[in-house]
């Protein structure tokens, strides 16, 4: 901030009129390739630069000076600006349009405002008169019509106001000085002094007992919300809650509609979502399980789990070990289970080991058996926590 531009106008060379006038925006070469004459620029309302040049960048300030007259501190740079009367000023502010064009511009803007009114009328009529009942044939039209009329109503006022500002309001460049942000040195030091003095008066620097007890008292106030935070959740036995599901020994495998699954219900290559046959069993978020049937010879049983599957029927937790999405997409040929959320892929015939994707652990396997009536039941809960990993998870 070394040069306070007290007179920007003075530094601005005043080129002769009728020069290439610039249009804001676009690359320089684009602008150079399509130079506009001053007249053309005026016609399109882009009179910024040309006005600026013709008026030597000063005249535009004078409006502000008129406004600022009589004010203690002038916000605008008026030191070097010749004083002009209002009439001179108004004459000097070149109206962008001639009277004919201004009239036509006014008509255009008014037409847009009128469009708004029509949009509102259309919106209200549609809102109340068009039938939006799901059974009616016009329901497909209801929302699109509302949207169209609402957009027309809003765009009319919006475009009208912008066009109004561009065509009919005097388009002038105003200049305003910036105030430096840093306060003067003496200002700063006296503020610092006041702060120090006030601090001195409180006695805090001297009275250490007061200070320390205040710190303790106010500091402990800050801890008050913590008990309330604990009130937000039920944390009792959270590790056990996370590690267990609703599966228990002897609980039957039921479908989402509540019917139990029987040996022979599934064809080879078929898959079924199964749930524990307990109260709200199909609603419990950590218990959904997949029952898959493949040919027994295709199944490579994991060591120690020889009696966990029945005749090619094998059950895995459906909850992805990555982020808990239900894994359900099964590829018969490869025996791959695929999670649609983050594409973790598990090999169902090899203990659901991870073959691709961000999941780190196999899907937990549920040990199943068949009772004398032929229905599947669980031998117990999963032997590890299902779903995503967490800090206290003991692997």
């Amino acid at each position: 901030m070394t040069t306070p531009a007290s007179n920007t106008g003075g530094q601005q060379p005043s080129p002769p009129t009728g020069q290439t006038s610039a249009q804001a925006g676009g690359s320089i070469r684009d602008r150079l390739q399509s130079p506009r004459s001053s007249d053309q620029a005026s016609g399109s309302g882009n009179t910024r630069e040309s006005d600026l040049r013709e008026n030597g960048f000063q005249q535009s300030n004078s409006v502000a000076d008129l406004h600022a007259g009589g004010r203690g501190e002038s916000q605008y740079d008026s030191s070097k600006t010749p004083q002009v009367t209002a009439e001179q000023e108004l004459a000097g502010r070149k109206h962008p349009l001639g009277p004919e064009d201004a009239k036509s511009a006014e008509r255009k803007v008014s037409a847009l405002f009128l469009l708004s009114f029509l949009g509102v009328v259309g919106f209200v009529l549609t809102f109340f008169l068009v039938d939006n009942d799901y059974a009616s044939s016009t329901r497909y039209l209801y929302t699109p019509l509302l949207g169209t009329f609402l957009a027309l109503a809003l765009a009319g006022v919006g475009a009208g106001a912008v066009l109004w500002a561009k065509l009919l309001m005097v388009d002038e460049e105003a200049v305003q000085e910036r105030h430096p942000f840093g306060s003067p040195k003496d200002e700063r030091s006296s503020t610092a002094q006041a702060l120090k003095k006030g601090l001195e008066e409180t006695g805090l620097p001297r009275r250490s007992l007061l200070r320390n007890t205040l710190l303790l008292g106010a500091g402990s106030l800050a801890l008050l919300p913590v008990p309330f935070l604990f009130g937000l959740g039920r944390f009792q036995h959270k590790e056990r809650v996370l590690a267990t599901t609703a599966w228990r020994e002897g609980v039957r495998l039921i479908r989402q509609n509540g019917t139990p699954v029987r040996l022979g219900d599934l064809q080879v290559g078929a898959i079924e979502s199964v749930f524990p046959d307990v109260e709200h069993g199909t609603k419990i978020a950590d218990s959904p399980t997949l029952l898959i049937r493949m040919r027994p010879e295709e199944l490579q049983v994991v060591e120690g789990r020889e009696d966990w599957s029945v005749d090619g029927h094998i059950a895995y937790s459906s909850i992805c070990t990555h982020l808990g999405c239900p894994v359900k997409l099964y590829e018969q040929q490869t025996h791959h289970l695929f999670c649609p959320c983050h594409q973790s892929t598990f090999a169902a015939n090899e203990g659901c080991k991870v073959v691709f994707g961000p999941a780190a652990r196999p899907l937990p396997q549920l040990a199943i058996s068949v009772d004398e009536e032929g229905y599947f039941y669980a031998q117990g809960d999963f032997d590890e926590a299902v779903g995503p990993s967490y800090w206290e998870r003991d692997t």
Binding site: R53, D171, P358
Partner: protein, 550 residues
Amino acid sequence: MSLLEKGTDAGAVWVDDRLGSSNFVRRSLNKVFPDHWSFMLGEVALYSFVILLLSGTYLSFFYTPSLSEVVYDGSYVPLKGVTMTQAYASTLDISFDVRGGLIMRQIHHWSALLFMASIVVHLMRVFFTGAFRKPREINWIIGVTLLVLGIAEGFAGYSLPDDLLSGTGLRIAYSIALSIPVIGTWAAFLVFGGEYPGVAILDRLYSAHILLLPGLILGLITFHMMMIWYQKHTQFAGPGRTEDNVVGSRFFPSYAAKAGGFFFLVFAVVAALGGLAQINPVWLYGPYDASQVSAGSQPDWYVGFLDGSTRLMPNWEIAGFGYTVPLNVMVPTVVLPGILFTLLALYPFIEARFTGDRDYHNLLDRPRDVPVRTAIGTMSIAFYVLLMIGGGNDVIASVFHLSINTISRVLQVSLFVVPPIVYFATKRVCLALQRSDDELVHHGIESGTIRRLPSGEFVEETVPLPAVYRISLTGVESDRPELEGATAHGAEGQSKGPGYGDEHVVENAPERVPGFFRGKRRSGPSDTSAPRPEGAMPELERSGKPAPPE
């Protein structure tokens, strides 16, 4: 005196008698705002927030944030008789039984997408033009905070309908909270009230979504605007524009009319989208069911980069001593965004640390003039875009019939390879553009007129750059060289700070490429060998040739 004038007069007197606000009002009306299309991006964000408040208020009259179950009996036939939560049922009611409810819901969703998009693009504008530099660092931090709050607010919002998609998103959020070491299970249980899904999450999300977060956002936006008002907007270099002034149109009437009109135009676009373009058709997804998920499940776009990082992360997990650290979840969803947003918020200070630049800056940089910053920006965008693509890898795989495994592997490698390439390419392009600008400033515009010298040599005539362009390019108001060093933008040859030394200056770059990290100011045409008087500049024709004298 017309009735309008009389009324204005009487009203102003009435208010001033009570508030003494005349001076303040006049100064406000006369406040100057610089014009540039890119300054409207932040306006779009502001206006979409206003639309969000309006449409959201209407929706809150009909929505019930409850997980208790009801049997649907609304007019949407395919779901009649299905058991669902009240939250989902009330969302269906808004969509099918409330008059104008669907368009309001869709306007709300579209304006949320637009809100986030305009924040991001506005942030890029501020970044690439260096508008965050002193004295505007506070506003930058507020802006970054608004971006983060916006993501949280958007996520809370699209989780409310409790459809299959949003319920899946909530479960993922819960699992992410679980992944944090030591406090993860506490955090997850605290937010959800217990093991997923708990009973409390929708009520909590609802009060966060309609009170807590919008309140914070509204407060910060107000502060953001007050800072802009108080510090005055930055501007690009141009005729009459210096570090110490603002050149533009006055707030009233011209700027107010344009800005007000622009609000309605933004609203019109959102209304048209809300009426004509379907968004989040929750009735097609069905109610949430922990055992169901649709293929191609995707979050709203502004969460997409986190979904992408999650998909591309290798499946690392550390386990031992009875504890588990799921790096595969924690790194891409907690650590990565933490680092990214911290770096983003601190960027003004990081840059100032490296450049040693402690000056005030009110004139904006052209991105090409600060190649390192621009390259850092494009590099970051490349990284972000790759993550976004990763978030859609399943859609890309199914649309283009590609292997999803291949796409993921390629993206994993690209995340580390592409950003550096983009960095160096951007830097080279910036330097080349600087040289091309220098060409224009020092030698003028190619006129297309070839002249043959008596010696037989062919030379091309060039036309000096008109002052308007020269000033925009160089920021140098005068062609008197002694004034150049006096511009506040920093004299050339100042230390560029550690890490930005000579090794970045390529061999064939002439010494008149001084700006690298900090905005540079090129010299005016006065030091060219053949200066021309300003008045002798001929007008140019469409082809760029000088027009024949009249």
